[in-house]
């Protein structure tokens, strides 16, 4: 119990007549000289003297004697900055160069703060007349390269000491008017200073920062650096907990308390969705007025030629297919620098789905080779099988059926494990998020309860079963020639499905069906829909396999396949159009 803590209580002690009061654990005044405890509790006094009771109470941490209850003052965007730091650090641990964190991401972030007028500009905008000067100074002094610390650094004493130490006297030394006034009136609060206001803020033309958006920033930085991580890789790393996201706020400094409205801002309970992050990437890139990104050339990892190779290997398809994918890339113009490079200002901004595009190209090639009509692929397999039996010494012909059997088994197993891991995922952090101070003990008690129950049940679980966290890997499936249990098809030949015609090779299959006959031209976000039952089982399997690999919806992949086909068979689409028009005329 601290001495002279309760300065506002000016009465004389009934027993010793001294005016020297402290606070008991229950928040009642007691005389520090004779230890006589009164029945007056602090809040009662405050109502008489100070109009805004709750501010005082909050600043004093209500009845708790621990004055660091309230913690530091911090702004929401500082929280986001902290998260971005954590994420950049994690990326560094994955092998990404440090320039990403120190230069690229940091600059993007600063630019964001500038553009959203939260800092680094002449008149940062806040509501209710807050004086943001302190924040501005802090941000400009902030050293990004240092550990992810609170911006309101020790280097700025008045900012920090408020509430952190028992000796400080808030009502005499206020660096800025306490914005909590608005909060206490509505009885909604937050650990951050502007939590409530932030969640209600709706500025036109400004892209508001959210936790999913931190990944957009990460991806933009990765893209700028042309690192060998695709968006689906990034999101998968998040899902596997290699990159902080779900409970990133857990690693905020101890004094940065989160509660109330902060929950809605930082307490994420869903994994990032590919399309959502992709959209945000474009949004942020546009909002930040970024220039054209560094060129994606043929030697870049993100170039379809390289990505196709990667994915072909991953799904155990023959290397020979790579020639075909390169060909499709050439024919559709999808390998062009201008097509691939992200340029937020130009209209070609929507092409950064490198992984989905690469996979779509592979799907198209599979359709070209095997038609995937639930018929031809199996007859071709029969031929391949016959040939392989007779010619055991030669390079085997790629047998679609064999590949399907092996791949389906591996895929089903992987998917099952993935579903089980997801079902067991622990969302709740050790640091419970609570609504308000009243709610805090309840939240902590609940957490304790959960932890105890878990301890009890962990004795029932075989400890060897719980394997350690997997190390991050770019490949989800691995196939080697030496593995005798599972055939590796990398070296197999496509001879069985190609035929020679003069100088060039043609596919034996001469048919093709389009994934989408007619594209939607309205303003919806998708240009086509995917109704599974309309398509062959082989096609469905292929889509399911690749969608799982990238953790995207099958409809997204289907759309991308359709778009590739649209480019590839441009003529066909215009022909169809003419035909239908003429038919319509005839009908009339």
């Amino acid at each position: 119990m601290d001495l002279e803590e309760a300065e506002e209580f000016k009465e004389r002690c009934s027993q010793c007549a001294a005016v020297s009061w402290g606070l008991t654990d229950e928040g009642k005044y007691y005389c520090t000289s004779c230890h006589n405890v009164t029945e007056r509790s602090q809040e009662v006094i405050n109502t008489d003297l100070i109009p805004n009771t709750q501010i005082k109470a909050l600043n004093r941490g209500l009845k708790k004697k621990n004055n660091s209850e309230k913690g530091w003052d911090w702004y929401v965007c500082e929280g986001f900055q902290n998260i971005l730091c954590q994420q950049a650090e994690a990326l560094k641990n994955l092998g990404i160069g440090p320039e990403l964190k120190n230069d690229v991401l940091h600059n993007f972030w600063k630019r964001y703060l500038q553009k959203s007028k939260q800092a680094y500009c002449k008149n940062p905008v806040y509501t209710t007349g807050r004086k943001p000067t302190v924040l501005e100074d802090n941000l400009s002094h902030s050293d990004w390269a240092s550990e992810p610390e609170l911006l309101s650094d020790v280097s700025c004493p008045p900012f920090l000491e408020s509430g952190a130490e028992s000796q400080s006297d808030i009502h005499t030394r206020k660096p800025f008017p306490i914005s909590r006034a608005s909060q206490s009136e509505t009885s909604v609060c937050s650990g951050s200073l502007d939590g409530v206001e932030y969640s209600q803020r709706k500025e036109k033309g400004v892209v508001k920062m959210t936790v999913p958006q931190t990944l957009a920033f990460c991806y933009l930085s990765l893209l700028w650096q042309r690192e060998a991580i695709t968006l689906s890789d990034l999101l998968r790393f998040v899902e596997e907990d290699h990159i902080p996201y779900i409970n990133a706020f857990q690693h905020f400094p101890e004094q940065m308390k989160l509660y109330g409205r902060d929950r809605g801002i930082f307490g994420i309970e869903s994994w990032p969705d590919y399309e959502d992050i992709y959209k945000k990437t474009i949004e942020v890139g546009t909002f930040l007025d970024l220039p054209r990104f560094p060129d994606i050339t043929e030697d870049c990892y993100l170039h379809p030629n390289i990505l196709c190779m990667k994915y072909l290997m991953e799904v155990n398809l023959p290397d020979e297919m790579h020639n075909l994918t390169c060909h499709v890339v050439k024919m559709t113009g999808m390998g062009e620098v201008d097509f691939l490079t992200f340029d937020p200002i130009a209209k070609m901004a929507k092409t950064v789905k490198y992984d989905v595009q690469a996979v779509a190209i592979i799907v198209v090639v599979l359709k070209l080779l095997f038609l995937l009509d639930d018929n031809l692929e199996w007859s071709l397999s029969n031929l391949a099988e016959k040939h392989n039996e007779k010619n055991k010494k030669d390079k085997p012909w790629f047998d679609f059926r064999k590949w399907y059997q092996i791949m389906k088994k591996a895929f089903d197993e992987k998917k099952q494990k993935w579903e089980e891991a997801r079902a067991k995922y622990l969302w709740k952090s050790e640091k419970p998020l609570y609504y308000s101070f009243v709610d805090k003990p309840v939240a902590y008690k609940k957490r304790e309860m959960v932890v105890n129950l878990q301890k009890q049940f962990s004795t029932l679980v075989d400890s060897t079963a719980t394997a350690g966290k997997k190390s991050p890997s770019s490949f989800q499936f691995n196939w080697t020639e030496e593995d005798t249990d599972r055939t590796c098809f990398h070296g197999h030949s496509l001879q069985g499905v190609l035929k020679e015609k003069g100088q060039s090779l043609l596919t034996k299959n001469s048919l093709y069906w389009l994934s989408t006959q007619k594209f939607c031209r309205c303003y919806c976000t998708h240009v086509t829909t995917y109704e599974e039952s309309n398509y062959s089982l082989s096609y469905q399997f292929i889509l399911n396999l690749f969608s799982f690999l990238l953790r995207i919806k099958t409809s997204l992949l289907h759309e991308e396949v359709s778009l590739v086909e649209k480019k590839l068979f441009e003529k066909k689409y215009s022909v169809t159009k003419k035909k239908s028009r003429s038919k319509k005329a005839r009908r009339h």
Binding site: R422, A423, L426, F457, L460
Partner: protein, 398 residues
Amino acid sequence: MSDFSEELKGPVTDDEVETSVLTGAGMHFPWLQTYIETVAIGGKRKKDFAQTTSACLSFIQEALLKHQWQQAAEYMYSYFQTLEDSDSYKRQAAPEIIWKLGSEILFYHPKSNMETFNTFADRMKNIGVMNYLKISLQHALYLLHHGMLKDAKRNLSEAETWRHGENTSSRGILINLIQAYKGLLQYYTWSKKKMELSKLDKDDYAYNAVAQDVFNHSWKTSANISALIKIPGVWDPFVKSYVEILYQIVPSHKLMLEFHTLLRKSEKEEHRKLGLEVLFGVLDFAGCTKNITAWKYLAKYLKKTLMGNHLAWVQDEWNSRKNWWPSFHFSYFWAKSDWKEDTALACEKAFVAGLLLGKGCRYFRYILKQDHQILGKKIKRMKRSVKKYSIVNPRLSY
């Protein structure tokens, strides 16, 4: 490969142009389904937390079905986080689900024991106020199952006095159930004590003490249960034990008649014999002499018993009563008085008298002589039955 574009031929004809986007049966928007599902939750997309926890629940249930206790425990470990669900509705429903599944796992898991179960039960009871009673009751049943009667009773006593939580209707029911089971346990103890008593000799110095103990116990138990059965509901198992105690202490209780109906329907012989005993017991008391139901039952049952060749049962009962019942129930005075007051009652009594004392007894003869429009036929029938079945009848005495 460049030939390719010329060799293209979509297998779909022009007429079917629409169908690759739309299904044959009309418009279909797969993505719309997910939005429709969000209507129930106010348009917000379902969180992954909700999705993974419900998948976790399915896995637990599957594991339980397959008796894979280890697996179930693994998933349970993760499922505990639903206690912290931000959705308040789910958060409140969580303790009950966790209790049900967790108790099942702990019941069967090879590494689990009584101690773990008890710790778990105590923890779950104290999560929120809504579940205390239910869990206490189930915990007590679990203890009963394992033969830990004292612990079960202690549990129930604690639960009985628990005063927190809302006064909902379900709370009321739970309290009743708790009291009922407690009563049942008391009955069981009483029963055991009675057994002990019967083994003791009357002269044994301990007899009185034990008898007194039993007696006290009886009253306590019956008091508990009697309060309980006033509440509407189906209390059969409890009633039986209550009535048995009552039979010992208050044989003339009107409940005995109901007890009799239960007993006579039983398949067990000893129950049916007891049914007869009970009836006689009731009519031993002055307060019940005019109870027409009792007489009706006795009349019917006697006939049935005698028809069923259980003469010995009747004789057992009659032996201790044949000296005083005739003047107590079947005197000439009573015959006149009963007939005047209630002819139906008199009829039934007459039948019983006839069966027990033979057609020559005064009561029977008097009623027979009476002329009655409605009951006339019945009396005649009675005469025939008495002729046939009376225990005095030389034909049947073997």
